[in-house]
Amino acid sequence: MGTRRRHLFVLLFVLGLVAVSGLVIATKETKLGLDLQGGLELVYEGQPTGTASDVSGQDVDNAISIIEQRINKLGVSEPEVARLGEDRITVSLPGVTDAERAAEQVGTTAKLFFYDWEPSLIGPQFLIGGRPGQAPPEKVIKASEERWKAAGRNPEKPLNAQLFSGGAYPTAYDAALLAAEQEPIENCETCSVSKPRYYLFEKQPPHELVAGPEFTRKDLYISPTGEKRPKNGIVVKVPTGTIVVSEYPTDPETGQLDETAEPAWFVLKDQPALSGDEITDPEQTYEPQTNLPVVAFQFTDEGREAFAEVTRKIAERGQARAIGPVGVEEAEGLSGRFVVILDNEIKSAPLINFAQNPGGIDGRTGAQIGGGFNNIDDAQELATTLQIGALPINLKLISESQVSATLGSQALDDGIKAGLVGLALVIIFLLLYYRFLGLIASIALGAYGVIFFALINLIPITLTLPGIAGLVLTIGVAADSNIVIFERIKEEVRAGRSMSSAISAGYKRGISTIIDANVVTLLTAFILFVLATAGVKGFAFTLGVGTIVSLLTAVIFTQSLLGTMSRSRVLRSPSVLGASGPGKRWHYDFMGASRWFFSISGVILIVGGLALATKQLNLGIDFESGTRMKVALVDLTNEEGVRSTLEEAGISGEEVQQVSDPNLGDNVFQIQSHELGPGEVKDAKAALAAEYRIDNEAFESTSVGPTFGQQVARSALSALIFSLLVICGYVALRFDPKFAIPVLIAIFHDILITAGVYSLTGKEVSSGTVAAFLTILGYSIYDTIIVFDRIRENVPRMPRAAFSQIVNRSMSEVLTRSLATSFSTLLGVFSLMVFGGATLQDFAFAMLVGIASGTYSSIFIASPVLTAWKEREPGFVRRRLRIAEIEGGRVPAFADDIEMAKLGRDDEAETGTPRRTEAPAVEAAPGPVATVEKTDESGNGSGILAEGDGDGASTSSERRQRNAERRARRQARRKHGRNR
């Protein structure tokens, strides 16, 4: 495929992608995180109880399964339950406003009980389903039929018939009324529930169940999602000693409970035979003789006795019903059952066949439930139910974060505004600085924005505030890739190449730098994603995906766009690209001045060290644990007023700070205290609402427990260490092992300066701050890589120059590019700081410090350290000595081409090789005095042109250069031999 065709193909491909992306954006909704839409996030930690000494992955997965079942009953739309690390579970509940109720309903330990079925049934239900082998009285059956029909359910329908024949009631209301008639058992110690429970039903028939069971009437009216519950509904109190349970019919095809069907209801005497705590090691296995699926389990000592007792009773009752000896099949119709009930739902009702087990089941070697499973899934489901009921873990709430819909929506508006302004600023900068190339870059940025946003909707990536920060940062990354290439193209144009040749060479040479820099950013994002806590994962994922997309749009797309236009009239004049004239070339003795910059860094670090020692770091609740609330009040008050209101509500020891919020005004308070439970947060909110009224529900709270704080700190440290190792490993592999150490030192420098700045300013350090900073570290190495890349390129081009001269030359060539990339990123950061709202401003501050220290250290720390270290190598020591000989004892800051040529002649004289003419030097470099000058790039002589960039014009120059290099190598080898 020809070049032009290839360019056209890429253009069409990207444009097609943009069109498809537009379609995706129009048709698919963006999935917003809780911080942008409001809601509740709970983090639970599984803690071992009873016999288990640790929490296994299976335990956590089982806990997730039961939490999902409970959330489904809450009616929350798009909930998310995910495992976090080894033993933590995050639960995201959009739209949920009552943290206490949600936490109560979601995180309580699952209760599993075994009941002896028949004797537990009450009244008409016992007469129908409690006497196997006996026909129920006609009158009772008729009454039951009428009850089902009155409820609008046909008892002859197959799924209903299963339940009807067992004696079930068609509605929870009917069952609750039956239960309410029972005598209470006071102080019942053997019951599964020790208190009466309440149910709320709709007033109008068929009296749908609205809420319950709850331990208080008040709780019936509090919905975790804030939905209104009917005040005029019917409340039924079920006394202690009686429970209402539901049962779903079994799907005849799958043999599993059909939870999509309508359940029926039973009323039981609450006398469980044993509980899930007395079951151990439940698992799905196979019956050895028949190879059919069974569920096997063991018991604790107490459990074994209880199980043996209940199965013995069931078997004896069955035998009493039989007249004479009966076979296994006949016994089945007369045998009783025990039922497995989890969270008031019947999960299984195995039969105890008295012909097979005349004395019940001993349970010494465990027990198994089998024979009735249609397939393996059926058995596995029961095994899971038993595992959940026998879950040896307690779910401890370790973090809770609540954002009101109002604040979430404001945060979203702020984030969008910051993103758009950031994009606009970067585009303006590109247009002003790069003119036509800037226009190309802006088109690419537009394509990048559309494709990236479509990917967010398509994957889908849950968009969070940290994710928006990552997105804005990737705008900078995308622009940077263009800047790196454009500066290269401009260099090539100024060196006299034709436009198409310059574009081709610019991309060819820029791409390795871009890949190196983006790989480092990707590695950091990946490490953050793997190791960081949930909120930061969104940031890391967005950054990673954005970096990959930017490679497509900023490199491949723009190359094709420019390639297609390279022969057009528009690109005839270098001025269109901003490449007219000699261009700016820094001529500054960076290495000579480095000792003064080292001193400045040393002084800054001493100040930082003293601040860290005396003021330490203001670690946020993410690390230290505690509760933070933010509330906007309607009635004017002050910090003292808020504090006394909270004290009256029983919440003391808190710090109250009045803050100003651009959206909420000045009557906004931030309250920080020791860790409060969801109930205490609710009390605080209620007290403030009663006293001062809360402005449009603008309330948010975050509670972090000590273990979660430690986890956050540990993961931040791990992310830091891994990032350092991986980045250094990559630099060592791609460049030279010696290049990795200065990078490492520069990173330490950046981290400690940032820590010092945070200590001095007293700004809070949160997990988000650490994430933003870690990412910026990766991104800041961008600058170092740009400089090191050019040093690597210049080393073979300048075979007689001292290393400091090579570095000075490299720095002078790439400084503009480094400054431009940092500036374009700073525009995004600036936009976040101004428009981003409180959370994004925290990210932006960390990014600002990171970019500033990163840019500084790549120029004034990493490169001088590399220089000082490399100059100790024998080869560079010899170069310095030779240069000093010619220059009267000093080594000039920049390689003087005349002197270099003289060195070449000396070499030739020494070896007897005839001298060839070097390319004439146009300008002699200045001495080591620190000056900044404008110079003509082409005037820097053979160093650059000798590489063969001159469109064929420099072929002889190239040859001369190669010969000179060969001579230098021979000379060095001979000298080395003599020395030895």
Partner: protein, 88 residues
């Protein structure tokens, strides 16, 4: 936190080794290692000996890093000088 302070002070003081003739073992990188190891090890020993916890820092914690850094740098410098004086 004391560890961070020792580390910061060690690196801070290392910056001024550019004014000392480069005779450190492994040059500027060797000096870096000497400064950091010296400040951290010396600081930890003294902090431990004085019965202070690592989270307990004040101005003396920062000052404590100075002798450690200087000792570390001196050791690396001595090693460098000795290596230079030894014939190949």
């Amino acid at each position: 936190m004391a560890l961070v302070v020792f580390f910061t002070m060690g690196i801070a003081l290392w910056h001024f080794t550019v004014f000392v003739p480069d005779r450190f073992w492994q040059g500027i990188v060797g000096a870096f290692i000497g400064a950091v190891v010296g400040s951290t090890v010396f600081g930890l020993i003294v902090q431990e000996a004085s019965g202070k916890s690592l989270g307990d820092t004040d101005i003396s914690t920062a000052l404590l890093a100075i002798p450690g850094t200087l000792i570390g740098l001196a050791v690396v410098y001595f090693l460098g000088v000795r290596a230079e004086e030894q014939p190949d």
